[in-house]
């Protein structure tokens, strides 16, 4: 799974335009993060990666890198 492509899709899903997204960013602290942004992120993971993360797992993810790793792990299963 391409990391660059993942970050670009992630940025687009959260509609972040004014800055770079870094792997160590804690995405829940973004001003764009709310329950509506979460919907778009979930739709992106389903559409582009065919991945649906169990919410128990998702709720424990802190950084963009955590998310990337989790999506990787699930899509390889």
């Amino acid at each position: 799974m391409d990391q660059k492509q993942f970050i670009s899709s992630f940025k687009e899903a959260l509609d972040i335009q004014d800055r770079d997204v870094l792997l160590l960013d804690e995405f829940r602290l973004y001003p764009e993060w709310d329950s509506l942004a979460q919907l778009t992120l979930i739709a992106m993971l389903d559409e582009e990666y065919g991945v649906s993360l169990e919410m128990k797992l998702f709720n424990n993810l802190v950084t963009v890198a955590d998310l990337f790793k989790a999506v990787n792990a699930v899509s390889e299963q």
Partner: protein
Amino acid sequence: MAYLEYSGIGVLGLSAAVPRQVIDNYSYTEHFPANDVKDIIEKIGVKERRFAGKDTCSSDLCYAAAEKLLSDMDVDRSEIDLLLFVSQTPDYRMPATSIILQHRLGLPDTTVAFDISIGCSGFLYGLSVAFAMLQQKGFRKALLLDGETRSKVYSPKDRKTAFLFGDAGVAALIGKNNNFMESYFSIHSDGSRESMIKINAGGYRNPSSAETVKEQVVDEFGNIRSEEQGYMNGADVFNFLIREVPKDVHGLLEHCNVDKASVDYFVFHQANSYMNNYLAKKLKLDEAKVPMSIEKFGNTSSVSIPLTIVSELRDNLEGSQKLLLCGFGVGLSWATTIINVEDCFITEIVEV
């Protein structure tokens, strides 16, 4: 898994009632800034919805819809052997609202009447129960009433739910005719996800008390509600259902050997437009075959499927039409059905 199958039974007519009071979501800004509200509306697609007044219950909306249907179709009320009331906003904890409606609608005391409490998939449950009971030789007609006053359930200070829900009631007349071909139902339950959409207090697990009616800040976003108001984790529900609903729709089509292209209309529970558009896209459906009423009436829980049919398909159901209906939500519970309607009688929407 088992699918339910019936033949020779179908929906003869359908009517709907909504409260007269229109809520314009763009001006529903008492608790949140107008800009935030605009962003929410853009995502969920609810521009307007209807709110019932203090003295109007789900049963009143259903009663108005039923009176309209029975008089417009000139139905002999003594032929109604079954009355079902589908709702999670009944009049009382007891007796069952269906029994009250039996008397109010002037139905005979031989009518079988009971309530079904299930939520967003409820209309399909109601249909399947009505179809099943009408297989009895003696049963002639069933009246399926489905009503919700969701506006009374959710906190206007919780942005996750404040702009989404509306009130409505419908009545469906179900009867026998050899022209009705096979109908198929697929029904699912997953109680492990019971906390995703919930009213925690006011039942017998957590009875009402001074504590349960107190408003509290419930999350880091400053949303406020009491334990007796509805809670919904929309993202969790979305995450689960965008996987399960397409699977169920495909599974049913395959089981009954129906080609997607031969379905005239796909009517989904009106959850929110983001979810509905996503499901339609994922299932690769032609937009023209997927009617939506979310913009006008919001999410009316179990009522939204039949309400969408009355509101959007009134002039399109002449002759024989194949419908795929799909409801999903609280429980979690989800269901898909494929039915044929034959010159289905549809009234205008009644305002109460």
